[in-house]
């Protein structure tokens, strides 16, 4: 969401807010339509199959997030610099040719639309998977909506890229949570009986956290040894 906000802010500041915000709203409608269309379809899938598929998807997404966050936390990959991304996007926007369709600056509209849609698609999948596995897609959508409002309000207050947001810490936390739920639901879907049923979920969370911090420490030592 922070990445999408940076793109929209760059378009708004350099090319005008009307086209940037129209692109953003159009992308939000597209995302809402995806959740509304896929949500009811998921409720007819048997819960065991659903948890297997949802668990696998959450694990694939969660490990992608966690992998990047661990590499950044251990110094093997540069931290994402929202200020630099903002400057780069703004430079591209200033040099782009202005073409108008339906009274909108097409560059600002399409870049904002694509930025919000692509970044939001991951959120939509998380809403669908968490919501369907717990039987409440609307509640998961409300949670995601609240997070989006929070990011937009922060962006409106700052009127610039959210460079002070501890983005890697957030990515690390999201990766740990997705991986934890992915392991838990995926294993249940594969036919596993967890000791203590739902009570073992905190145990899985502690395991994933411990492993992740252990990997950060090990990779940091490895980097220092090579330096």
């Amino acid at each position: 969401m922070v990445e999408a906000l940076t793109i929209v802010l760059a378009m708004g500041v350099t090319r005008g807010w009307r086209s940037a915000l129209t692109g953003t709203v159009a992308a939000l409608f597209a995302l809402a339509a995806i959740v509304a269309a896929l949500g009811p379809a998921l409720t007819i899938v048997p819960i065991q199959t659903l948890r297997l598929v949802v668990g696998a998807l959450l694990l694939v997404f969660g490990l992608q997030w966690l992998r990047k966050a661990i590499l950044r936390a251990s110094g093997w990959r540069a931290l994402r610099d929202e200020d630099a991304v903002f400057v780069r996007e703004a430079e591209h926007a200033r040099s782009a040719v202005r073409t108008e369709h339906a009274g909108l600056d097409w560059y600002a509209f399409t870049v904002s639309f694509k930025g919000v849609l692509l970044e939001g698609l991951e959120v939509a999948f998380i809403v669908l998977t968490f919501g369907s596995a717990q039987g409440s897609i609307p509640l998961a959508a409300v949670g995601a909506g609240a997070a989006a409002v929070l990011v937009v309000v922060a962006g409106a207050v700052v009127r610039g890229p959210l460079s002070r947001v501890p983005e890697n810490t957030l990515a690390f936390a999201v990766g740990v949570m997705l991986t934890t739920f992915g392991i838990f639901w995926g294993a249940e879907g594969a036919g596993v009986d967890w000791p203590g049923n739902d009570a073992s979920l905190p145990g899985v969370l502690v395991f994933v956290l411990g492993v992740s911090f252990g990997f950060v420490t090990a990779l940091r030592r490895r980097r220092l040894a090579l330096a």
């Binding site: 594969a190 009986d193 967890w194 073992s200 395991f207 492993v211």
Partner: protein, 61 residues
């Protein structure tokens, strides 16, 4: 069409396709073990830790 397929590949599989393949294999082994009388809850967490570590090692090599 090719760009569409590429987008979904990047979206789902990400930087390291071996992670997705490893998860698929881990799920298969977990399901096989769960079908026996042996407790299978420990297998997926350990497999995920191993998959993540191997992927990280490849990234820093």
């Amino acid at each position: 069409m090719r760009r569409f397929a590429r987008f979904w590949w990047d979206f789902v599989v990400g930087d390291d396709w071996r992670v997705a393949a490893g998860i698929a294999i881990a799920f298969g082994l977990t399901a096989l073990l769960a079908a026996t009388s042996v407790p299978a809850w420990w297998l997926l967490p350990l497999a995920v830790a191993a998959i993540l570590w191997l992927s990280l090692l490849r990234a820093v090599r």
